[in-house]
Each structure stands twice: as structure tokens, then as C-alpha cells.
Subunit: 492 residues, 2 copies
């Protein structure tokens, strides 16, 4: 792709004047970005000395400093390396109506990592996939991502490095790494080209700019920015494609909720306490092993109100080292969370190596409460099955054990528990008017949950439906699944 960079400018055109006009346009577009709540990500990749810093300075000169943030991407530090690759990039997403400008980006984890950190071909391809999913998920959510690759020839780079080295105040900017990369220009060229090709997706195309001529470069960059932003704020978002889940993912068949037999799934207290003790001891031991083997775990608890999520989580938590796990209760999103992609807050809570995160409710709110209460447009809810599957698949590919539990009770059992809560003073806080309102919508929720379970029970992260009318039975079943799955993973 690099050979396509436009080198020759039209000599009869006054690019400087045209750029001036574009600068004014960009400045004026800020307000439209704000009004339309368009989130914009502008990223710069490219060769050393290709002029990224100068172009970023040129852009922000035209912007209100309260409106944008600039991020410089350094190699991941040891702490960041304990998390899935994309976590730190998710963390820096701009809010709707704001702009991020990236001086290098997630692309550092691709070509550069392939050549300099010796990641395998397989890992390289996996990262390519992660990046493509990341960008598609964001653009599907309305983010505008503008990607520049700044290109210069080997000869031009040599010239620029020499010039920098001539001056004592700029000499330090040419590093040993720069020299090494310059020497191996051809190898990097091939690797960059491969990366650009594989990540040049239709929703997010590369703009490859030859930066040999400074004024022509600036014109081209501003021209891309203004036209893409103007297009995004002025046109309706494209019709979204709702993908077929069964074609994209290997699904594990699951029964409908109405087919789950709850009767007879019971346990006597004496047996329960024996089993609980045994399971907790085992879990405690496994937690230590996970820590030593640096394996992270994500546990997801979903289920009807009063199905017993809290009680199950408590029994698990008691068995774990408190320094190695976190229970994350998920409520309705706060304003700053609503102002970003819905997966943003879940990425932020992922466990580091050797740790466990227990989600008490989760991203599945997207296809349950947000769908039933119409908090999110139907179309976006329908797209979530794929997004969620991709998210969970990515976690498992990063080595995280993902276990999802649906706690199933029937309507009568829920009524019994609600009534008991209402009649027990120290349990009253657990029952709210909203619980009663949700209960009235049981028949709306059930088909939605059935669809959710069918469509998100992937081979990578299948659902475990837990018969929950008897709490003791349910807790032991959950703990034993966790123990089995961790044991399997550790043996691998």
C-alpha cells in the first residue's frame, strides 16, 4: 500500500492558501462535533522523522484546548502488560462530542512488536484481528476514526536524520532505535505494508501521506480531516448491518428457560455444608495456583431478581484471597459512562494476570434491560450479540478464563423471595419498587433472555444455566463448575 502515497503535487495550485481555509473549517467544525456528540479519534503512525509531532501541533493550533486530548503511545509498561492488549486504548476513548489525537497508537503493538519484540506470527495475526474488531466496534457506535500513516523514502529519512544531527539542540532526537530502524528500512517497509493492508478496513481506511513536501503534506492532512469530519456531522450514519451470529461464531446449544427443569434440583443443609466447605477449600487452593500461573479469571453472574447472585458471589468471595479478586456490581451507567461506548466501563474492570473479577450483572444489560426498557435503539441492541461475543472471545484469547452463569428461578419462587424480603426487616433494603416493576415484565424479559443465551453461548464462553430454586443446590453447582474449569485451564 505504501507505494500508493501521493508524491507529486500540482505545481499550479497554491496549497498554502487552501490549507488556511481548511484550518478555518476545522476550527468551525468543533462546534458541530460537540452538537452532534460525534466522538473523533485521529491517529498518526509512520516512519521516524516523518513529521508526526509537527502535524499534531498544526492541528491543535486550530482547536479549543478543552475540546481535545493528545495521547502519546509508549511501549506498554510491565503493569499494562498484565492486562489484555487493547485495555489501555479503550481507557483513553474520547467522550461523545470530543476528540483524541494519538501520536502513535495501538499499531505500535503490531508491526513494531512483530519486528522488535519477537511476537509470533500467530500472535501478530491475533492482534490484527483485535485491532480490526476494536475499530469496527467503535465506528459501529458512531466513532469517527481517522488514520494517517506518514511515509517518507529511505533517502528522505536519511536526509532528515542528518539534518537533526547537525544541530546540537535536535541531535538527541535521533535515537539508537531510529538508526537501527533506518538501517533496516526495507524490512520495516514490508512489515508496515503488511500491517496497513490487513487493517485497511472499509469503515476505517488508512490515509497514507508522503510527507516529503511539507506544505503539500499539511494540505492533504487538513483536507482529509475536514472532509471526513464534515461528512460525519452532516450525513446520517450508514444503515447498520445486523450480522448473523450463527455464521460468525461456533455456538453451544442451550435449552430455553421454559425447558429448564427446576424441580428436584435440591440439596439438604447437612450435605450442603459439607460440600461448601470442600468446595471453598479447593477454590482457595486454586486461587493460589492461578496467581502463580498468572491466569486471570472473569466470572459473570446474571439472573432474575432475587435469583441468588449475591449469595453465590459471597460464598465464592469468602474462599478467595481478598487481595486477588474484586466483585464489581453493575448498576445503571453514570453520565460519564453513558458518554462512551457501552463496553468502556467493562474493559476498565478487567482483571490483571492472576486476579479474578466477579461481575454482578454485566454487559448483558445491553440486551436485557436496555432492550426491554428501550434505553438503547433496537438496532444497536441487535448488534450487541456480536460485539459481546467478540469481547469475550478476545478475553479468552488473551488467556482469561471466562465463566458465565445464568441463575434461573421460576416466577413463584421469585414471589416467595420478594415477599420474604419484604417481611424481614434486615432484608427490606434488598427489595425495591423497581424489582416489582421488573417482575411485571417477566414475560417480556423471558424471550429476550432466551435469545441472549442462544446467541452468546459461544464455544469460547458458553453460558452455564443454574437451576436456582434451591439456593444451596445452585451455589454448589456454580462452585463446582468454577473448580472444574479452572482445573482444566491450569492443566493446559
Amino acid at each position: 500500500m505504501l507505494e500508493n502515497a501521493l508524491v507529486n503535487k500540482n505545481k499550479s495550485v497554491n496549497y498554502k492558501d487552501m490549507t488556511k481555509q481548511l484550518e478555518q473549517n476545522l476550527s468551525a467544525l468543533q462546534q458541530k462535533i460537540r452538537d452532534k456528540k460525534l466522538p473523533v479519534i485521529i491517529l498518526f503512525e509512520g516512519w521516524g522523522a516523518s513529521g508526526k509531532g509537527q502535524l499534531i501541533a498544526d492541528i491543535i493550533k486550530m482547536l479549543d484546548p478543552r475540546f481535545f486530548k493528545v495521547y502519546s503511545t509508549m511501549p506498554a509498561n510491565d503493569f499494562e502488560k498484565r492486562y489484555p492488549l487493547m485495555k489501555r486504548f479503550w481507557a483513553n476513548l474520547p467522550e461523545y462530542g470530543a476528540m483524541s489525537i494519538l501520536d502513535r497508537s495501538w499499531y505500535q503493538e503490531l508491526a513494531i512488536a512483530r519486528l522488535e519484540e519477537g511476537i509470533s506470527n500467530e500472535e501478530y495475526e491475533r492482534r490484527i484481528k483485535s485491532v480490526n474488531i476494536f475499530e469496527r466496534q467503535l465506528t459501529d457506535d458512531g466513532y469517527l476514526i481517522i488514520k494517517f500513516f506518514l511515509h517518507i523514502s529511505h533517502q528522505e529519512q536519511k536526509k532528515r536524520f542528518l539534518k537533526l544531527k547537525e544541530n546540537s539542540s535536535t541531535k538527541w532526537r535521533v535515537t539508537e532505535l531510529d538508526k537501527k530502524r533506518h538501517k533496516n528500512y526495507d524490512i520495516y517497509y514490508k512489515q508496515f505494508d503488511d500491517m496497513l493492508m490487513k487493517t485497511n478496513s472499509p469503515h476505517c481506511q488508512w490515509k497514507i501521506i508522503d510527507t516529503t513536501d511539507r506544505s503539500f503534506t499539511k494540505f492533504q492532512v487538513f483536507n482529509v480531516l475536514v472532509s471526513q469530519i464534515a461528512n460525519a456531522v452532516n450525513s446520517e450514519p450508514p444503515q447498520k448491518v445486523i450480522p448473523s451470529i450463527s455464521e460468525l461464531f461456533e455456538l453451544v446449544p442451550q435449552p430455553k428457560l421454559s425447558e429448564v427443569r427446576l424441580e428436584g434440583k435440591e440439596m439438604q443443609p447437612s450435605k450442603y455444608f459439607d460440600e461448601l466447605k470442600k468446595a471453598q477449600k479447593e477454590l482457595s487452593k486454586l486461587h493460589g495456583k492461578l496467581y502463580k500461573k498468572k491466569i486471570p479469571v472473569v466470572l459473570v453472574f446474571e439472573g432474575w431478581d432475587a435469583a441468588g447472585k449475591g449469595g453465590a458471589i459471597k460464598r465464592i468471595g469468602t474462599a478467595l484471597d481478598p487481595r486477588g479478586y474484586e466483585a464489581v456490581p453493575i448498576a445503571a451507567p453514570d453520565k460519564h459512562e453513558l458518554n462512551r461506548h457501552y463496553l468502556w466501563r467493562f474493559w476498565a474492570s478487567l482483571p490483571k494476570t492472576g486476579h479474578i473479577t466477579i461481575f454482578d450483572r454485566s454487559w448483558y444489560g445491553r440486551v436485557m434491560v436496555e432492550r426491554i426498557e428501550k434505553l438503547t435503539p433496537e438496532e444497536r441492541c441487535a448488534m450487541a450479540y456480536r460485539e459481546i461475543n467478540e469481547f469475550e472471545q478476545e478475553l479468552t484469547e488473551c488467556g482469561i478464563i471466562v465463566l458465565k452463569f445464568w441463575l434461573q428461578i421460576d416466577k413463584n419462587e421469585q414471589l416467595r423471595r420478594f415477599t420474604e424480603r419484604q417481611n424481614t426487616p434486615e432484608k427490606q433494603w434488598k427489595i425495591t419498587d423497581e424489582d416489582w416493576r421488573n417482575r411485571e415484565k417477566w414475560d417480556l424479559y423471558e424471550p429476550a433472555i432466551d435469545e441472549m443465551i442462544q446467541k452468546t453461548s459461544t464455544a469460547a464462553a458458553p453460558w452455564h444455566i443454574i437451576e436456582g430454586n434451591n439456593k444451596m443446590f445452585a451455589r454448589i453447582k456454580i462452585m463446582n463448575i468454577i473448580i472444574d474449569k479452572i482445573n482444566e485451564a491450569i492443566k493446559k
Copy 2:
């Protein structure tokens, strides 16, 4: 203080039964903590093998996992070291109505750092002061902090280490550092004692527990927890003391706003553009020097609506390397921010070494809008002058350059600018109904601002009042102050 730890239990008492009752009480108190929105911090410090981990496990066994978080404090990593000492501890504050349990805490930065990292006596005393201010500010805000120091004798520690070493599965827990500390028990004893004495403040007293006897230890810890929490949820908060600012801080006298002469503070455009170019060039150079010298800078912009904060910030931002500064616009706090101490969100935005943070409005909202609009009780607003002065003083003591600007315009000039904004299509978004409402309250704001400027113009971080009726004059004056102050700091 360590010699006061209670060793002898009353042999006729059945502590186990009493502890059981206390465990139930603690569990029940969770709901009260939630109802009363009481934030609770429980921290454990103490000797190696004194049993911190076990006690934390005992406590959380009684709690709902969604209700608390456990933090293990490790030595600050290189990234954390680029920020003021207390930043990472501010970051982990529990929300109102939730609980944090700390396995080691900020106290690691005191005695341990004194003995093992070789910090100077002066720095040690400074940190003692920081910690005392931190804890007082939190308790003044209603936080309950319960501090345990777990004590064992040299002999007992030896016994425990030997027991751990006997077993192959626990052997690894006795580290080289443990051995070193054990060998120098007497030195650590003295240093711990000094630290405990100096941080045993009335609002936040140490509970020193001799942990030789396990069941007695557990009883004592639960007894402290239950009694302190019950006391906090059942009694009215103590009457707050409003301190005398002039006795606590060295203040720099400032004129009242009505005494600030705005007439004649003008600049012609031709001179302005010359001066601006000069100042921006100089600032750009200084930014590089700050980076190399690793000096962080905080710029605070306050002023009347339409006083020109945004324009000034833009001119400064243009001169800076975008990768080395951040402009942080401060709006009304979001829900998750309201759920914590008001300084929490500002600590989160502090610059790292060599970086600049520009606050467009700031923590001064506490004594302006929050006071005038009665969003915060009067008493808490009145306490803020001291808290803010302490905060800024701490930043300067950590080596941050703090510069605060009040942009002053008169009422007529504001009207002129409001009207202009309203009549200029591309500026209309800058003017809202709220601006007009605030303008009506000018006469309420002015004395509040006068008081604020008088009480928070400390020698460490004095206010700079900028005559702002002429924007060009104001911008150049601000930039020259920044340049002078950075030059001063660099020469030190």
C-alpha cells in the same frame, strides 16, 4: 506507643462467643453504612507475620462482596513515583456508603521508606504532615478511618517465621526482606513507634493490637470495628472547627476586586502580536526545559463568565508540546464524583513530572458556585479555604509549580461580551441561560470571591489578578507571569 498494646486477656471471658456476636453486628452494620452514606476505610499495618491477611479474611467473610474493596499496597512503581505521594491513595477512596480495606497503606511511605529507601528526615517529616492532613481532610468530610497496627514481639515473630519455614507450602512467604527486618527488629521498633506517635491524631487514633493470641486478637479487632462504626452511624457528626486561615498560613495581601483598576490596561494589536509571538516562543522553549528537569506545572484559571479564560488557555496551549500538557475543563461534578471527597477528582488530574495541567475552573468552585448556590453546607464551604491551601501547599512541596489566575472584568464588559456572543452565530454555543442567571448574582459572587482571594492567596500559591477588560493585555500579562515563574523555578 507500642509498649501499650494489650497482651493479657481476661481468662474468665469466652472471647470466641463474644466475637461471634460481634461478627453478626458487623454484618448488620453494612446496611446502616449504606443508608447513612458513611465511607469507611480500615487499614492494617504491622510487623511481618503479625496476621494482617488472616484478619482481613475474617472481616470480609462477614461482608457482602459488592460492598467493599480490598487494596494491597505495594511500593510505588516508577510511574506512580512521577506523581505527588498521596495521589495513588486518593485514587482508591471508597464511595460514600462503601468500605475499603487496606492491607498496608500510605504508612509504607513513612517508617519503611525512612529505613529502606533512605529518604531524608526532612522528607520523612513532610510525609508525616501529608498523611495527617490527608486523614484530617477525610474525617472532616465524614470518612471513618480505622487504623490497626498489629504488633508482635521479636520472640513471637521468630517463632512464626520458623513455623512458616517448616512447611514447604508456606516457606516461600518468609522473604529475604522479612529476614532483614527481623534481624533489625529494634531499629524498626523505634521507627514504627515514632511514626505511630506522630500520626496518632485525635480524629484518627491508632489501635495497636498485640496479635500473639489469635482469638483475643480477633475479638479486639471486631470490637473496635463494631464500636467505631456503630458510633459513626448512630451519632451526629461532631461540630466542625472552622480554623483561622491567617494563623495557619502565610498570606499574600491582595486588593478587593472593586479596587482593581481595569481602565488603561490595554494593548494595541500590533504590539500584541509581537509580544504573543515572543511569549509563545519562550514558553515553548521553557516547556522543553521543564520536561528535562522533570518539573510539573499546574495552571489554574478562574474568573467571571466571558472573562477570557478559554482564549488565554488556547494561546498557552498553542505554545506547548501537546504530548506534555493537558487542559482540564471543570464542570459540575458527575454522580461518581459527588460520591467522594470534592478534591478527589482534582488529585486524579494532577500532572506527572515534566508535564503541565491547565485547569479551566477548578477546586475553587467549592467556595464560589457551591457556596452561592448552597450546593454544599455553609460549614463545609467555610472549611475549604484551609483544605485548598493545604492541597496547594502540598503540591508546591512536591515540586509542582502552581500558578493561579483570576481574570477580572467589570459588569459592563461582561454584558458587552454576552451580547456579542449572542449576536455571533458561531459563538452562540458559548452563552447559556445559566450565564445570564449567574450574571444576576454578580453582587452575591463578588464578596465571596473577595474572601476567597484573600484567604487562599498563600505564599506558596498566591493569586494573580489579571485585568481582563482588554483580552490582549490580559493574555500577554498571564503568559509573562508564567514565563517568569517557570524561569525562577528552573534556576533554583
